[in-house]
C-alpha cells in the first residue's frame, strides 16, 4: 500500500439539534474524529446506535456538512469539488428503502452516470450491464424494478450504482445488517472481491464485529460521537485495549456453544447515555469497570503509536494492555 491516504478526515465534528432546528437541544453526533484510509484498504468503523458512525459516513460522502474539520481526497480538500466528490460513493443500509421503486434497475444504476454526465445512450446501457455482471446479477435485470429482487440482490444493485462513477472509495453504511446470514456472506464476499479487482478503498460502517473481522484491515471503534480505539483489525478485535471495545467483544456471540456460554451473566451494565447530555470526562465512564476520578473529569484524547501492525491508538487513561509506549 502506498504511503498516502486516498481519503482522510481531520477533526470532523457535527452537531445536530434534537427536537427542532431552532429550539431543539444541541447534541454532538460526532466530535473531533480523524481517520485515514489507504488505497485498496478496508477501514471498519464500529459502534452501537448513536455512536455517530452513520453521521461520519454521511459527512465523508458529502450528504452532511461537517461543522468543523476537513475531508481530503489524495491530500486535496474535497469541499464542493464535484469531480472529487464522484470519487467517494455510498452504499446504503436498507436495500428496500434506498432504491426508488418506480425506476428500473437501468435508471437506478445509471444515476451517477447521468448526474456526472459520464455516459448516454448505448454506452450508458452497456456500462450498466457491465456493472450488473460485476456484482453477480444477470444484465437482463436492467429492465426490471426493485421489488422483483430479493434483499441480497437489491444490495447488489445498490453496490452496482455506487460503482457506476468509478469511485476510488466506497463508504458502506451497514450494508449487510438487513440481510439473512447466508446472503450476508454473499455480499461480504462480493465487496472483498470487488476490492481486489478494482483496488478501491472501503469504509465499512458496522455494528457486527464478526462481519467486520471478515472484511476489514483496520478498525476504528466509536462511542457517543468519539473515536475510542483504532488499529489493525487483528489487534483491535482479538486484543482490544479500550474497556468499551472489550465490552463489545465480550457481548458479541459466536456460533460456538462453549464460547458463547462464557458470556452468560457477564453483561456490561448500563446503556449508552443520551447524546444530548453526555457525561463529563470520558463518555464511557458511567459504564466502565476501570473508572477512576480522572475519567470522570477529564476527557481522554486519542494517543497513537506505531508498531509492526501499523498505527494503533486508544483514548483511555487505563487501557487494558498498559505495556505499549504511547506518544501523542
Amino acid at each position: 500500500m502506498s504511503a498516502e491516504p486516498i481519503l482522510e478526515a481531520r477533526g470532523l465534528s457535527k452537531t445536530f439539534r434534537a427536537g427542532g432546528a431552532v429550539f431543539g437541544k444541541p447534541f454532538q453526533a460526532v466530535k473531533d474524529v480523524s481517520l485515514a484510509v489507504m488505497p485498496g484498504e478496508t477501514l471498519a468503523v464500529v459502534g452501537e446506535s448513536g455512536c455517530g458512525k452513520s453521521t461520519l459516513a454521511r459527512m465523508l460522502v458529502g450528504l452532511e456538512t461537517p461543522d468543523e474539520g476537513e475531508i481530503l481526497f489524495r491530500g486535496a480538500p474535497i469541499k464542493r469539488d464535484r469531480a472529487l466528490r464522484r470519487q467517494v460513493q455510498m452504499v446504503f443500509q436498507d436495500p428496500y428503502l434506498s432504491l426508488n421503486p418506480r425506476r428500473t434497475v437501468l435508471d437506478i444504476v445509471a444515476e451517477p452516470l447521468d448526474v456526472h454526465g459520464l455516459a448516454k445512450g448505448a454506452p450508458r446501457t452497456a456500462r450498466v450491464e457491465e456493472l450488473l455482471t460485476a456484482v453477480g446479477l444477470d444484465p437482463a435485470a436492467s429492465s426490471r424494478f426493485p421489488h422483483e429482487f430479493s434483499g441480497g440482490q437489491r444490495q447488489r444493485i445498490g453496490i452496482a450504482r455506487a460503482l457506476a462513477a468509478e469511485p476510488s472509495v466506497l463508504v458502506c453504511d451497514e450494508p449487510v445488517s438487513a440481510l439473512d446470514v447466508s446472503v450476508q456472506a454473499q455480499v461480504v464476499n462480493l465487496l472483498i472481491d470487488l476490492q481486489k479487482r478494482l483496488g478501491i478503498a472501503i469504509i465499512f460502517i458496522a455494528h457486527d464485529l464478526a462481519v467486520v473481522r471478515a472484511i476489514s484491515h483496520r478498525v476504528m471503534v466509536m462511542y457517543l460521537g468519539r473515536a475510542v480505539e483504532e488499529g489493525g483489525a487483528d489487534r483491535v478485535l482479538v486484543t482490544p485495549n479500550h474497556p468499551y471495545t472489550v465490552a463489545l467483544r465480550g457481548s458479541a456471540l459466536e456460533p460456538d456453544p462453549a464460547r458463547a456460554r462464557l458470556a452468560r451473566g457477564k453483561a456490561t451494565r448500563g446503556e449508552p447515555p443520551n447524546p444530548v447530555n453526555p457525561p463529563p470526562g470520558c463518555r464511557f465512564n458511567p459504564r466502565c469497570p476501570r473508572v477512576t476520578d480522572e475519567c470522570r473529569t477529564n476527557e481522554p484524547q486519542m494517543k497513537r503509536h506505531t508498531d509492526a501492525a501499523g498505527v494503533s491508538g486508544v483514548a483511555c487513561y487505563h487501557p487494558v494492555h498498559e505495556a505499549v509506549e504511547l506518544n501523542a
Binding site: E48, V181, A185, A263, A267
Partner: protein, 332 residues
Amino acid sequence: MTKQADERPVLSVSGLDVSFRTMRGEVKAVSDVSFDLKRGEVLALVGESGSGKSVSTRAVMGIVRGNATINARRMELAGHDLLTADEEQKRKLRGRVISLVFQDALSALNPVLSIGDQLGELYRTHLNVSKKEARERSIELLRSVHLASADKRIDDYPHQFSGGMRQRILIASAIALKPEVLIADEPTTALDVTVQAQILDLLDELRDELGMAILLITHDLGVVARMAERVAVMYAGRLVETGSVDDIFRAPSHPYTAALMASAPRIETVEKLEPIKGSPPNLIAPPPGCAFNPRCTHLGDLCTKVRPELIGDLPGRSRACHYPLVETAHVG
C-alpha cells in the same frame, strides 16, 4: 444449564400446517412441524426470513393474522388441548400459561398509556385486584426486570424509555402472570450487542426464578449457542434438523444447518465466508423433493424427486435429509 429440564413436555405440537391464501396462490408457510418443549428448557427455533419460525409460534398462540388455514394433529399446552379450546379458554391461557415477547418493543407497547396503566391492566383483568394493588404489583414487576427507579418511572410513557428499557418492560408484561411457557420472538434483534447481553442475562435469570420454558425464535446462531439446550432448524416451512445444541453445533447433519454455520462470520478466525448460493425458495411453488436441493452442495439422486421425512435414529436427534453429513446413528 443450571436446572435439569423436566421430561414431561409443557407444550407439545405435532403435524402443524399453516397456509395463507394469497392472490398468487396458496402459500404453505408451515408444513408438518412437530416439537415438544419440556418444562424449564430453552428450545431454539432457528431459521432465516420466511422459514416459518414466527408463524409456527403464532399459530400456537392463536394469533395468526390474515386468512390463514391452520391444521395440526396435536397441540397441547400444560394439559390443555388447544385444538378443541374455544376463544375464551385460549384467551385465558394467553398470559397465564403462555406468553409472548416480540422483537419490536416500541410497537408492542401502547404509546398512549403509561407503563403503569399497561402493566396494571394485566393484573386488574386477570387477577381482579384493586387499582392500588395493581400499581404496587407493577412496580414490583418492573424491579424484577431491573428497571432503574421503577417507582418513579411507572407513570412514564413508552417513548420516554430507551430500546433496552422498553424490552425489559415488554418482558415484564410477558412474565407478569408467571407463565409456564415464554415465546421469545427475536427478543434482542433490534438491540445493540451490549444491551442484548443484558436482556439475555435477564431471560436466564427469570427462567431460573420462575422455572418457565422458553421457546426462542431467532436467526442468530450466536444467540442460540448462548441460550438454548435444544435447537430445531427450519427451512422453507419445514423442520430440517433437531437435536441438542452441543451435538448440532459440533456436527450438523443436514447440509442446510452446516451451510448456515459456515456462512456465519467469526471474530477469532479470518476465513473466507462460505455463503449459501441462491436464495430461499418461493413457498407458493417450492422445488420438488427437498426444498433445499437447488442450493445444496451434497445433492444426490433422490433429492429432486422425493421429499425427505424428518427421521430420528437417536432420541432427541432427527434430520430430514437423504444424504446426511453425519449418520445420526453414530453420534453420541
